[in-house]
Symmetry: C2
DNA sequence: CAGTGGTCTAGACCACGTG
DNA sequence: ACGTGGTCTAGACCACTGC
């Protein structure tokens, strides 16, 4: 069920890495390879312990770390599962706009355009791609209470998501689809936030006068294996809403 | 050395809370009470185990959680210490402005004014204070490369920091002083980020034309016991810099 | 060298979900 | 009733620090 050859980790640590870290990486590898699909239940802790030749406590420590990283989910009495992202969960984690009273904003989305091409200099930089790599570009308007408030440009490495732009459109939430269709699980995102004034085109799209201040969020999205899988530029006309951030 | 009465936790969990959580809370209480000061070394794991009447593994699990929350620091071969914030660490954790190339911004600071008064409605709201509670208000300009770029207003509950405004000024970094002088350890901050245009006064202070877009960060700072200890409003003229955020 | 945290094991019992 | 994860224990050995 595992790597083929029934491996036993020696008690002497390989390369001085703790056993539970090695087990953690083996479990991640199983998930990456697709052997354990999103939503699937893992073997029990004692079974994993036997398979990897370690104790149940060591398995526990490895799965603890993976549960903390949202890669596994534990359900007492049932088992340990590979975390399957849903559209709602992804929105909850990665879409952090709020009403003045703290209520979450649940946006709608309208695609403007989806194209393919060679990565520009800045796209190569933000996505850590080689010269000449192909990318998929997608732009859309996010609306709330029927009013547009975010103009968003998304750039994806085509190598990671072959055939994605085929039908010319993308779903409202991408991250759950990345996992279910391409086996790419989003871990976190790093953002650069600043302000700018709306250009003529941006103002027209967002239905406001040119020169209005916009919140600009430049996001790099990172998978559980550390690869950058998305570059997303969001221009936001907040108009009473705010962007919620936790620090420390 | 501990709570006075040599306590023994029963094996039957009190109120169904796991032993290690109870131990965690007892350790936090020791720190809050000042019995274990910032920078102090804790008794060894085995000594703690004997004191609390639990096993070393349970102590480990409690201190693991506290180390993850930055409340304790473990140093192999030396001991476990109460995390003592330094000005540099605090800046690293809570001041997240960067140069375009990703280099950290290390600001200077100039006090504008420090006053005391009764909390306004909005101050009561943001600091979770009762009507009529007293607050300390402090405003300052943050500069970088000798140019002002943040106009900051800080409001503190006077009850938490008695005598703080006595000499009429505050240090550049507050959070380390909160801990060393008042035993208040900062845990995290929640922020509401949006944009606004510079008023006449703000523009004058930040040395730019009125109407320029500013990044507005409304921060509530929270201590390890969950109390809100600070409300801080930062108006930022980024001008090429960006605010770094991690999501998920 | 002694003492500390870091890792790992083996075994026990409990709480929960399912059949 | 059974199997799962959740907690807790006791003991072992290792790695690091400081004397």
């Amino acid at each position: 069920m595992l790597c083929g050859d029934g491996m036993k980790l020696p008690k002497a640590q390989q390369g001085n890495r703790p056993l539970y870290v090695q087990v953690r990486d083996l479990i991640v590898a199983e998930i990456q390879s697709g052997a354990w699909a999103p939503g699937a239940v893992l073997p029990s802790e004692f079974e994993l312990a036997r398979t990897y030749g370690v104790s149940q406590g060591t398995i526990r420590k490895a799965t603890d770390a993976l549960a903390a990283d949202q890669i596994l989910v534990r359900r007492q009495g049932r088992g340990t599962f590979v975390h399957a992202h849903t559209a709602a969960e992804v929105l909850f984690r990665f879409f952090q706009f709020r009403e003045p009273d703290g209520q979450r904003v649940i946006p709608a989305s309208r695609t403007l355009r989806t194209t393919r091409g060679s990565a520009t200099r800045i796209e190569q930089d933000r996505l850590a791609l080689a010269k000449g790599a192909r990318v998929i570009r997608h732009s859309r308007l996010r609306t709330w209470r029927s009013r547009p408030f975010i103009f968003e440009t998304i750039v994806l490495p085509e190598a990671l998501f072959p055939g994605l732009a085929a039908n010319g459109d993308l779903p409202n939430t991408l991250y759950d689809m990345f996992q279910t269709h391409y086996g790419v699980t989003v871990a976190r995102a790093v953002e650069r936030v600043d302000t700018q004034t709306a250009s003529e085109r941006q103002a027209r799209l967002l239905d406001l006068p040119a020169g209005q201040p916009l919140l600009r969020i430049d996001r790099q999205t990172i998978a559980i294996d550390g690869r950058i899988i998305e570059w997303r530029l969001s221009l936001c006309h907040l108009d009473g809403l705010y962007y919620a951030v936790e620090v420390g």
